[in-house]
Structure formats: structure tokens, C-alpha cells
Subunit: 200 residues, 2 copies
DNA sequence: AATTTCAGCGTACACTTGTACGCTAAAATA
DNA sequence: TATTTTAGCGTACAAGTGTACGCTGAAATT
């Protein structure tokens, strides 16, 4: 196992994934990608693609997983920052905005495939987001005076708003983003306040 | 003017638009549509398409306008229902869910192109949504004890949640939708409560 | 050392796509 | 009535797509 051979295979597999991410942009969505172009950028022949993925679909699902992983890692980092004494809401929002900024193509993938044309894709993205919501709900339940049900609904609403703000931020400059972020923070406060009122 | 000729032209133009809407579905987004297929379903030769639209893009923007119009008409109807004594939140949500149900392809277009690959599309959808938000903000400002700024942020948050719930509802059966709707209504209450607290 | 496995290649094929070009017939205009 | 306008058609073409098939050489296994 893990010989020169398998190692090289893993390498070009990753090259395919990275090539595909590279080709995502504001003007290019996953469904616009062609197998041939991805293979070209990865430096292999079109037909060699099949040695790694059965389908473009399979590649895509792998990419969703990878983007989800990135997101989860980032939020773990956010939790560390919170533990060492930051505001929950502000730190989370800032961290998420960093994700939009540094991994915009990964975010774009999640954003678009959430309402894309493949049920499997939509399900995969929904799973990632649900993970996110559950984590936040768990936190809210233990740290605030809040019913379990209300904690979940609160978390769901918050994640929805953050995610959507991220989507808007993609098209904006620094100035607009700052305003957007400020509004978002207010909106999260509304929810926190409302949920605590109803859920205790 | 308005002779037999112009009338017929208008008719096939509408046929193109309807053909395109028909071809949208859970598995087929606008960017997957091909000029030829749309022309085929509309019953004209591919090259005749250009007599009506310069581009598939131009068709798409027209479709966004049409979907926005449908939405606006529906919400006007909602306002009438509210005026004759319904709960604001519940009536609005129900009306919106009807829109998802009866015009799902129009909704799908707005939903997807909001984060699609064409800046013009994104802007067009954003415009429709903003219109929506402003209307709601105006209402909230006059009917609840709420700062102008807070009214806007409240409206924005509410519209975001409703829109997103609609997106989720697309993949769900009646049972799940009912649960989703119930959660959504709670979440809107959170926001209303929170905004009224901060904005007065 | 002999054999098997398999990542990557090149060729080939059947399709689909957008659109340029010129024609036709009927409606509109003069 | 004679002329112009134009919605719609058919042909044609270059470009791009996914993928079937068989080969090769080097790594892995026996």
C-alpha cells in the first residue's frame, strides 16, 4: 500500500479537484464546467478523468464535501476565538466573512448547489448546513436561557441570515460589506432577543 | 400599428417565454437551456429566435421581470387579505407558499439566478427582492413602533427567511412543509419582537 | 524474473450547440 | 396597385461535448 503509484494517483486526483475549483468564479458555475476543460487544466487527457471519477457529478460531490470541511475547520477556529473571550455573534460573523473572502469559490459552490439542479448536490449542501445549525443550536441551548426547540429555530434563522449575507457580500466592495455586516449583526440580535423571550 | 403582424409576433414571443419557463424544473436550470430546445418547444426554427431576442440572456432577463411581476401581484393580493383582517405574518407566509406552489418555475428562476453566473441577472433579481423589502419596511414603519432604520433591517431579515424557506419547501412534501412553515412563523416572530425592542 | 495491474494516452465517433446567410411569402405602406 | 418590410425557414459550418476502445510502460505482485 501507499506506494509510489497510489501516491501519484492521489496527486492527480487532487489536481482535478483544484482545477475544478479554479474554474469556478462569479461567471462560471459548476454546471458550466466541462470534463475536458477540467482535465486540461489538471494536465491529463480527457479520458483519464475516468480513472478518478465516474462522472462530473462525482467530482462535484467530492468538492462539496471538501468545501464543507473547510467551513467546519474555520468555525472550529471561531469557537476557539470565542472561548478566549470574544462576542459570539461578532466573532462568528467575522469568521464567516473571512471564509467568503479567502475561499470564495468553495463558498460559491455551496451557495449555488444548494439550489442547483442535482438532488444529490442539494442534499449534500443541506447536510453541511444542518451540521452547522445543530452545532450552533447546541451552543445556544447550553449558554442561553432557551428551550431546545427554540434554540434550534433560533440557530436555523441565524445561519440562514449569515449564509445569505455571505452571498450578497460576494458582489460587494469593502464599504458595502461593512454596512451589510453591521445590518446582519443587528438582525442576529433581533433573533437572539426574540428567541430568548419566547423560549423561556 | 397593432396589425395582424405585430400581434402574431407578440404571440410567438410569449410562446418562447413560456417554452423556456416550461423547461425549468428541479433538474433543469436556466443556464442549462439551449436556444434550440426552447425554439423547438415554441414551435419555431432555431434561427427565428433572433427575431425576438438578441440572446438567451435577453430572454432570461425578460423572464426575471415576468417572475417579479407575478410575485408583486401575489403580494398585492396578500395585502388585500391582510386589510380584511388577517394576521400579517401568517397571511404573508401563506401567500408566499402559494407562489412557490403555483409558480414554482418562476420562483426557481429567481432563486437560482440570484446567485447565478450573470451579474445582470443577479442585479435584476436583487432589484425585485429589494422592492419587496422596501414595501414591507414601509408597512412595518407605519404599523409598528419602529425606527426607520430598524424597520428596514427587520424587513430585510424577514424577507430573507421567507425566501429561503421557500427554497427549502421546493424539495419537501406537505408534512415537511407544514413543519417548515411553523418554524418560519416563529422565526419571524423573533425578529418582530427583537426589532421592536431595539427600535423604539 | 515472470506476470499482472492500471494510470494515462490518442484516436475516433456521434451529438449538440450557436449562428451566418440568403430565401420566401405575407402583411404593411406608399 | 406597386413597393417595402419582416417573421420565419432551411441549409451549412465550425466548435465543443462525453465517452468507447485499445494501447503502453512502469509499478506492484507473484
Amino acid at each position: 500500500m501507499s506506494g509510489v503509484r497510489a501516491q501519484q494517483k492521489q496527486k492527480t486526483r487532487q489536481a482535478l479537484i483544484e482545477a475544478a475549483f479554479n474554474q469556478l468564479s462569479a461567471e462560471h458555475s459548476f454546471s458550466n464546467l466541462s470534463l475536458r476543460e477540467v482535465a486540461r487544466e489538471a494536465g491529463i487527457a480527457p479520458t483519464s478523468f475516468y480513472r478518478h471519477f465516474k462522472d462530473m457529478n462525482e467530482l462535484g460531490l467530492t468538492m462539496v464535501d471538501e468545501a464543507g470541511l473547510t467551513l467546519r475547520q474555520l468555525m472550529r477556529q471561531a469557537r476557539r476565538r470565542i472561548a478566549s473571550g470574544g462576542s459570539v455573534i461578532i466573532t462568528s460573523v467575522e469568521t464567516f466573512m473571512e471564509f467568503i473572502d479567502t475561499s470564495s469559490n468553495q463558498f460559491r459552490l455551496l451557495l449555488r448547489e444548494r439550489s442547483g439542479t442535482s438532488k444529490a448536490f442539494r442534499a449534500a449542501v443541506a447536510r453541511e448546513i444542518k451540521h452547522f445549525i445543530l452545532e450552533l443550536a447546541h451552543y445556544l441551548e447550553s449558554e442561553t436561557p432557551c428551550d431546545k426547540q427554540h434554540a434550534y429555530m433560533q440557530a436555523e434563522a441565524m445561519v440562514t441570515l449569515v449564509f445569505n449575507a455571505g452571498a450578497e457580500a460576494l458582489d460587494q466592495d469593502a464599504q458595502q460589506r461593512a454596512e451589510l455586516t453591521e445590518r446582519l449583526i443587528w438582525q442576529l440580535r433581533y433573533i437572539a432577543r426574540g428567541a430568548n423571550h419566547y423560549g423561556s
